[in-house]
Symmetry: C2
Subunit: 160 residues, 2 copies
């Protein structure tokens, strides 16, 4: 399967036409990671969004005490993107993405993404809305996690 | 000052041209809230993003134990938008926005926002990127809050 057919499977392109997907594909670079190595590392500066096209990855976060835990596992069949926050700001990666098996990703750099949304704004609107929906889902999940940990803290303090 | 001049002051329009701001302004509806009343309520379904053009609001959240706390206060001079998550999904409001003084907001409904981004996609890309940057900032803040509360919980459990 060629990369354009692979990309078509990603929900982020559901409302994007073939010509726009081809133009987007032309901007992508390829990255390979051997099993056990990091595709991106929490705390690093980042500027790219990745499409997982082969393999399985663990999303790993670090607690304030330095303990690491796997908060999600994605396979290529799930057609996930990650690193999309880096398209919005210059800040640090919020999690490590580690190859659980040998992996291949296709990735877009922020400046290429910005050039694409300027040249093909209707497609750009669709990509940005998809990313926005993902970000909102993450905020709602974080809100739930915060409520759970806060509740546990108060119960621990008060012996409720 | 007319509403278009007011809107021009909002950073969300920094990279949007005058004609696009005028077209956007034509979609906006007005809402007034007396001091002490809610502009939106946590848990309600929402479909609009608001521009605070007059007054001061408190952003209020509820803990899992039902306690309410003010997590931010915004004045019209800060040119803030709120409720932008509702442009991305159909889910519930994540916080209450309460008028601390008499307030006036201008708001856009999701279906009008979608029509705008379809009709003026270059401006749509700029608005969506601005919203995306805001959402990412919120995620990073939530991550910090989660780490702080988690750390307090572990210290409480272990007596560190």
């Amino acid at each position: 399967m060629d990369d354009i057919s692979l990309l078509r499977e990603f929900p982020i392109f559901a409302r994007v036409g073939d010509a726009d997907v081809r133009a987007f594909a032309a901007l992508l670079k390829e990255s390979r990671a051997a099993a056990g190595t990091d595709i991106m590392a929490e705390g690093d500066s980042g500027s790219s969004m990745h499409f997982l096209v082969e393999g399985t990855v663990d999303i790993i976060k670090t607690t304030p005490f330095g303990d690491r835990f796997v908060c999600a596992t994605f396979t290529a069949a799930m057609h996930c993107v990650f690193g999309e926050m880096a398209l919005m700001d210059n800040d640090r990666r919020s999690a490590t993405v580690r190859a659980r098996t040998d992996c291949r990703t296709l990735y877009v750099e922020r400046e290429d993404f910005d050039a694409f949304t300027a040249a093909r704004p209707l497609a750009g609107v669709e990509l940005l809305k998809f990313i926005g929906v993902n970000l909102v889902r993450n905020i709602r999940k974080e809100n739930e996690n915060l409520a759970l940990v806060y509740q546990a803290l108060i119960e621990e303090i008060e012996g409720r």
